[in-house]
Subunit: 295 residues, 2 copies
């Protein structure tokens, strides 16, 4: 029987939406709560949360911890989009089909809402709740902080910023993306794993899977920026080329970029197969979804 | 014998400087490390780290954990200044006697460096190091995340932003400051306490001390904004009045504001005396320093 990704995803994504709606505050002071909810709710593919939950399932981990981790990772992703869209960064006005946060709420509130979302992510990971062992809480904080910071997402954004108008080698481009988007995607997988006690072999397999998936995600993003329109993407299409940003398509051409995405999907498959985990169907299906998506 | 605050402070501040210099990366990508170090090193009174260390001493806590907590709190404080100084917020060009981070490095790098400093704070609190129990790591992450986020510092900044040009009641002003600056100062004390196992009585006393000190800090800040010059402050003086911001001085007048600061110092003293802790001299001396400082 083939794996029912749609059913699995629908159920998990609904749980994530409900948890995010409960945890992102409506009543925070002076409109910051409204901006936080606007940035997070009713939008996005929830890929990172689904990766957390799928990896936790695969290792038989603590489901309550995984739901918190799933939401925390999504909050980090959401805050990075809020800040990335601001005029001093990408200056974008459309995101997930809606005006960006700074267009809707003003730049100062966007800045603060992003900052507060990052803090909330760590608040979710360290609840005063004995049902989630302190060792798991600490591990989750460690993985997320490393993936979000200067040696992960924020560092990758800095490289991206410095690269506008310059030409990068394929190695430099890969390094940038491993940090900018790859680190958080890989961390999603590893945080799911950290909700349980994976064997060394399983942790290695999941790490390899996460690395390949993270890179594949970016290669496909670069392809879609060229081949899709803004309505399908829910964000401005063609902006990489307009900003003269280096991408996999500008570096490899469209055909070779597609081939590279397929190759990375195969690497993800091989890593899962080597993990020794009994059921990796959800993880595999998510990787396929990443590579075959159209937005 | 009177307590030698200068000696105590000098020794602890040196340890904090050394740790910050070791932990804030020089080699982060594309200039973000330079901006992070510029924002954090060689500046500031290090009041929050000193509160962490003094509270840890008072409860006989884990010194390695306290040094990490001290640096983490300072990183949160530093990132908030970087973002607060940006053109879309306070638009300030001078901080600690130097050009602000966005003036020196550009707005985009300032935004990212601030984001990365927040992540680094949590990275410091959750090291892969068995010498710091996971329960302590998780508690520290919880306290810092709550103090930094929408129900603490970021929320207070949002209220502050919304209050420009409006008149606030004393209750509203107090609420704003409890969040904006008070939450992180009080958290500094509670994080120091969380490095040990304080009795309920001790925790209560330290919490009351932290709350009074946090508010006193802001009252004195408002007084100094009126009475000191920019050279002494190391930042732009008189800017609250220039921006028509509500302050304790605009609300109470200078004399009553000074009386309120003295009253809060007394509250801090009483709370320490009720804590049952054997040696609170460093904490008391720090509160006196906060109220009697001239910058």
């Amino acid at each position: 029987m083939t794996f029912d990704l749609k059913g699995w995803t629908g159920e998990r994504a609904a749980a994530v939406e409900q948890a995010l709606s409960a945890w992102v505050p409506a009543q925070a002071p002076a409109g910051i709560g409204d901006a936080m909810r606007y940035a997070v709710l009713d939008g996005g593919k929830r890929l990172r949360p689904l990766l957390v939950l799928a990896a936790c399932d695969a290792v038989g981990g603590n489901a309550a911890a995984a739901l918190r981790a799933a939401c925390a990772v999504e909050l980090i992703h959401a805050y990075s989009l809020v800040h990335d869209d601001m005029p001093c960064m990408d200056n974008d006005v459309l995101r997930r089909g809606k005006p960006t946060v700074h267009v809707q709420f003003g730049q100062a509130t966007a800045l603060l809402a992003g900052d507060a979302l990052q803090a909330l992510a760590f608040e979710l990971l360290a609840p005063d709740d004995a049902a989630i062992p302190a060792a798991v809480q600490a591990r989750l904080c460690r993985l997320l902080a490393q993936a979000a910071g200067h040696s992960g997402m924020a560092g990758g954004q800095a490289i991206d910023l410095a690269a506008v108008g310059r030409s990068l080698t394929e190695d430099e481009l890969r390094h940038m993306h491993r940090l900018k988007t790859g680190a958080l995607l890989q961390a999603s997988v590893m945080m799911g794993a950290a909700c349980g006690e994976p064997s060394h072999l399983a942790a290695e397999g999941l790490s390899g899977y996460g690395a390949a998936l993270g890179l594949a995600f970016q290669v496909v993003d670069d392809i879609l920026d060229v081949t899709a329109d803004s309505a399908t993407l829910g964000k401005t299409a063609g902006k990489d080329a307009a900003q003269d940003k280096p991408t996999y398509v500008s570096l490899l051409g469209l055909e070779r970029a597609r081939g590279y995405a397929a190759e990375l999907l195969e690497q993800a498959r091989v890593a899962l197969a080597a993990s020794g985990l009994a059921d990796t169907r959800a993880l595999l299906a998510l990787a396929e979804m990443v590579v075959h998506r159209d937005n």
